[in-house]
Subunit: 281 residues, 4 copies
């Protein structure tokens, strides 16, 4: 499916600053960027980087003090995904995991899986099938955590959310990841543009490693799972921030959009009674 | 300098288990492994892996339930390091950092630099030279944090240690890393064998990125900085655990040794009045 | 029922120290201390105090440096309790609570009820009868938190235990209290001697305020609810520590006993299907 | 000195609610309430309570659902205080403290003194005179913690503030209390109306127990120490909230004022070089 996405961000600097943006659509075997533009107004040199982890696409810009600077990204992207069924989603033992997958088993800044070990195993440990396990914890987050804008901040972690039970997409994703890792299922953070997300914004969910595939899960259930344009993946939001800001600098406005440019889109939400899942890339 | 190092670890399993050990000496341009043996008793197949981050050397072994299994690593290693002076240790602006360095600016599980921003800047922000900054925070940790075996556990993080002011080498390193990152200096965790560490054990300290070099710092001051044989580096202990254990499995004993096999070793400890530092690799 | 209880504690001082012990059986309308002795060996002056909150009985002793000092408390105590049924255990609205009860609604050091509001209400908020609510949360703690000696320390709080799901009687009680308060049910910490507790030790559980009575609950289920000799009540363990130590001083040994001196004791454990509860005092 | 104080608070209820306000000026030997009015509009019955701890004056009101209710408190109050000098401010050993003072040595919800023991003693333990100790920690808070409206919330505690180094008067007070207790100096929370506080608001600071007096300290230095009209004291903000709200209820507006009604007011701020302090009551 083709989607037209855009991200527009304006900053104001009060000192010389460096901005690292991570809003470009990923280029992967399953996600083709057909057209793309990235502009800065007023003009400053843009340096493109590729992060070592996840191969995310970064843009680094130096901006002098006392400047109001606007970034505008637009792209036409064709995403595709693989539909997986029960047989595809088998358990991968640690002994068979590729070295590149292992880091996604370990705790990270916002996903302290080491502290959730007993809780995760008490709640979900007796569920046999690994996909059913991740579905169950995703449902549990959806039912128990209240989506409440402004209830959390950039320091909120899965350890907070599991008890305080309120947050935004970022917090839902971190909790999902932490619970997966506590169950010895690798999991990673996923950011992207999301079709039919209302109000429009950058979105976050997570991927769990099942049967050798990174299968996408979204405990917010705010938008269809097959309408994502992937920006980045990483251990958690610390790896995949939309923007890292260095200097005395403030975000003025953020605007995003995601429009469908094809016909025949059938929104997909997981159905617990039907083991069918999707994996991007 | 040549050192003979050894690590012997015994586990007991109560279920089928997978063990991932990270006790092999790294092979780097500056560290040559001249001889090496790694044995398991009784024998189980050993799979060697290289971690994507830090290129650490992992050994993965599957062990059946109810087994007492012993691992023995021995190596003769020639380490070398570069001595750096004031001119080498300049500030690297974020705008000039290589993409591979950026992740070491971000908070991680045990190094919540985002929470230490004001504290780090209040205490050390007015120190001009970046090396002097890291020296100052290293000294501050040494003077304020009590080395106290058993006072912390595997969940203790820099956020705890900065206030509770007690811990072991791991906690000292995490706090040093978190303070560096809060000052926009990339920093990473360093594990290794350590000459003259008493009692012998695996050791942890940290590296800060100054002037394009990973410069080693050890807030414990327990052993000379030029007597380390590097095992691994990573964001923090979550990346570089000596062992990751999956299954119902317990550590029985750990023993290490590190002996000098050369002459002319002059122990090096930093002197705050003399800007001279060392970087491995 | 008459019980003979004893507590023997030995300390060693390395500086001049002050010890405040709270191991005397309470004297209440329902609990009569028939005989009692409290000795210190070697002899130091004992000052008896009554805490303002809870009217707990404290003993304060000054001990010089480098002294091994032993305290021995023995008492013959007749405890009695009131058996309450469904009609007694009605909901008390905040508007009708006595001022002396209100502090037990507020969060305290180890019972951060303010952080558990959503979780408590998600899990137990839809249970109508207040006794059934407290029974349900007590059962939930019993089923989900593993009793594991040494898994927690003096800093562990309900906020930790709700997620980490391991602890000792103190942690079980703190979590019960925090959940009650989050449901607007006053709750307080209860320490005492406990008949049939194995191994013998000081015990902790909690009381919830239902129908104007302080009803006892014990999420550990380690001993019968009608075999307690109350020592103290308070907001949490910070108010009711067995000992507060000031100085460089260490606990050498603690021994307790609780023997039945009557016949006809019928151990009482709550039965979820039968609303019958007990209140001491 | 006579002051005219007022507090006006408006709430909106979305369910039947109970409100417990704590905005009345305390009546103490040193603080005389000359005139006073407390009105509710529209009218609901007001029940006056006295808290067991601190003898604070509470007003409890039941308000039905879907009501906008306004409370207005006005009082003319004559406050007085005792000026204390070096000789008055001696150290009180734990062995000589009244039982009513002991609870203010223990950790509480927002003042986890048990976690700050080493930090407090590393920083301030070598200062001999107890008043100089509390002055030093008050100055340290003033210099290191940034006063930043909106940077903290109702869950923020001294353990957070000591590291994050930003907050409001409540956070400054909690940190002062926690550090005192960690140094074995009893300390309690103080709320009141404050002359020359700009913008006007309810204020919080703390009292330390020195030489048998509760001596007032204010790490914010926002207003003179002799311009306070005391509302309440307690262990921390959990004991002395301006309002405790039970039900689905929101605060609409809060307004306060504090005007001087006498002549000859000389604003008093502590001078570290001059041991002179004040104690209310």
């Amino acid at each position: 499916m083709k989607f037209k996405v855009s991200g527009d961000i304006v900053y104001e600097t009060y000192s010389d600053s460096t901005i690292i943006l991570n809003i470009h659509a990923l280029r992967t075997p399953g996600q083709t960027v057909l057209e793309e533009s990235f502009t800065v107004e007023p003009y400053f040199k843009i340096e493109e980087l590729v992060s070592e982890q996840g191969e995310n696409r970064l843009a680094r810009i130096e901006v002098p003090a006392n400047t109001k600077v606007g970034f505008s990204y637009q792209a036409l992207v064709d995403n595709s995904y693989r539909v997986l069924t029960r047989d595809d989603l088998y358990d991968v033992p640690v002994a068979a995991m590729d070295a590149s997958v292992l880091p996604f088993l370990f705790p990270s800044r916002y996903c302290q899986s080491d502290k959730l070990y007993r809780l995760a195993n008490n709640k979900f440990g007796n569920i046999e099938h690994p996909y059913a396990k991740v579905m169950a914890l995703t449902e549990w987050i959806f039912r128990n955590v209240e989506y409440l804008s402004g209830s959390t901040d950039s320091q909120t972690s899965a350890y907070d959310t599991v008890t305080e039970q309120a947050g935004v997409c970022r917090d839902f994703a971190h909790l999902g990841i932490a619970l997966c890792r506590a169950l010895t299922i690798p999991a990673r953070y996923f950011t992207g543009y999301a079709y039919q997300l209302n109000p429009p914004d950058f979105h976050a969910c997570f991927e769990a490693y099942l049967g050798g595939h990174w299968v996408v899960f979204d405990p917010t259930k705010l938008c269809p799972l097959n309408g994502f344009i992937k920006i980045a993946s990483g251990r958690d939001a610390a790896d995949t921030a939309i923007a890292n800001l260095f200097g005395n600098i403030f975000c003025h406005t953020i605007q995003t959009s995601c429009e469908l440019c094809d016909e025949g889109f059938e929104p997909l939400f997981y159905d617990p009674s039907d083991i069918k899942a999707i994996s991007y890339q």
